[in-house]
Amino acid sequence: MPIDKLGIRVLVVDDERLIADTLALILNKSGFETVAAYSGAKAVELAEVLKPNVLISDVIMEGMNGVEAAIRISASLPGCRVILFSGNAATEDLLHGAEVKGHRFELIGKPIHPRVLLDRLARSPSIPA
């Protein structure tokens, strides 16, 4: 049964603008209501207004990193699904820190193919219908 994508709001965060923009474009074309942010701080700010159902964020970013942003956002939006992507080994430590604080975030290795990301979004049961 195809998942109804309408009304699912996604926040994409990456300090690499081109990646954030192209991902947002792809997700928008696939029917998700998507907004891109270029930094962790900006993401937290946008999340207040946007109230996204899904947060897709890069981990390693200057300033506030992805894990930090995810923790803050899920604190105010407990139902928000978090998917982190990273191409770095240091991520393990960051995620471990988050787990200790009681969070469980999905992690995808970089580079992610958009097909894989879409499949993931479709497959997951945690998306509210």
Binding site: E16, L25, I26, K29, E62, K110
Partner: protein
Amino acid sequence: MAFDFSRKVSKFVFPDKPRKIVARYLVAVALPLLALAITGPFFTISTDPFFLLFTLSVILSALYGGWGAGLTTTAVSVLLNAWILEPRLSFQVTDPENVLRLAVFSFEGCLVSVLVGTIGSLQRKLEGERERLSVTLTSIGDAVMVTDREGRITFMNPTAEQTTGWSATRAMGRQLDHVFRIANETTRAPVENPLHKVFELGRVVALANHTLLMRPDGSEIPIDESAAPIRDAGGNLIGAVLVFRDISAEKKSEAALRNADKLASLGRLASTIAHEVNNPLEAVANLLFLIRGTHELADIDRYAETAERELQRASQITRHTLSFARRENEFGPVEVSELVDGILALYSNKIHGKNITVKKRCAAGTSAFASKSELRQVFSNLVGNAVDALPNDGTLHIRVRAAHCHCGATTRVVVADSGNGISAAQLPHIFDAFFTTKKDIGTGLGLWVTKQIVEAHGGCIHVRSRPGRGTVMALCWPKIAPTQDVFPDIVASDLAPVTGNESD
């Protein structure tokens, strides 16, 4: 060999230790008896006005047994003569002329004994001193070579034989330049023999390391050396002594540390690179996905163009990375500006992340005579440190220009940052191995290696820093290879194997 023979004779006449007392006095008594046996039938002291044979026995006895033996021989000679002179077979001497002769002989005998005996004991002392010195120099762990004022080798110890690959017998008397050939470790240009400096300046000269000793068999050993003048009692320069040491072991551990730094910087780069390459790849994957879902030609065009640019970016990163890992150890002129660009590209992620402004000013055509990979390592360390020290929105200055430095180098490079600076207490230590203030991520090897590389190239490095204001690292590199005469060809006959008891 004449030298050895005279030495042996001298050794026999003046042995190092006094001979056994029995032997000495047996000889002292036997010699005048022998003299009497020879002269008795023909003449005695009374008919031999020069007391020839008896005087000779006194001299020989004193030489052999010291002044005591000489005196004994004198006394025995007098007694024997008194016994043989009229009246025969009695110790009485009646002829006053003979009494006078005997008195003169006694006096002469005493004088000769004391003189010869004293010379003997002095000689023994001298020999002993020389022996002690030679034993010391022989057993010393460092290689020691001594030359005369003309630079000819007069002594070399076994360590010097082993290190140079020359046997002492072969090297003796040769010019030191011929036996002790040294070259700069990195440029391989011949280095002036420290001996010349010693003769010129008349004082101790220590050579900077980075010296290779070229052995006659073609092998090379890194050494550490110093030379000092030898003066006589009047203060005149009469020669020089050269002391050097094989430092291969130290060099090896230094090389290991240098590699560690290379690995550390490669490790740092690896994570940067993963990021730098993954980002464009991901962007390209996204763009291709968009292209497949689009029918708008204009959009496709735009996506394709962006993808192309991203791929170019990725390939640029990999190209610089490869050049970093490539071993380019040959020396040659290196375009500094170009090399710096490559390093900046590798750090671009960090630089953009911190929003660092890079101000690079390069005079056209500034080149350094260097090994490309080592120069790259130097700039990677300096730029890396500056980027580490810089806060967000800081500024990194890089200036390359021609200049004349007191070290003789001609290309000057300055890497300056407006970062946190270095405290006065830490400043003297930053070039030490393992000194780091970056707890987990620092190795403390970067600047240590940098200094080594720079100095090995014949350049110099200086730092100025103010805490809270920033740091300036200034380096000088020679623009061209230091030119010097090439070595004179080594002739085959010089290739003597080193053996302990080789004779010439």
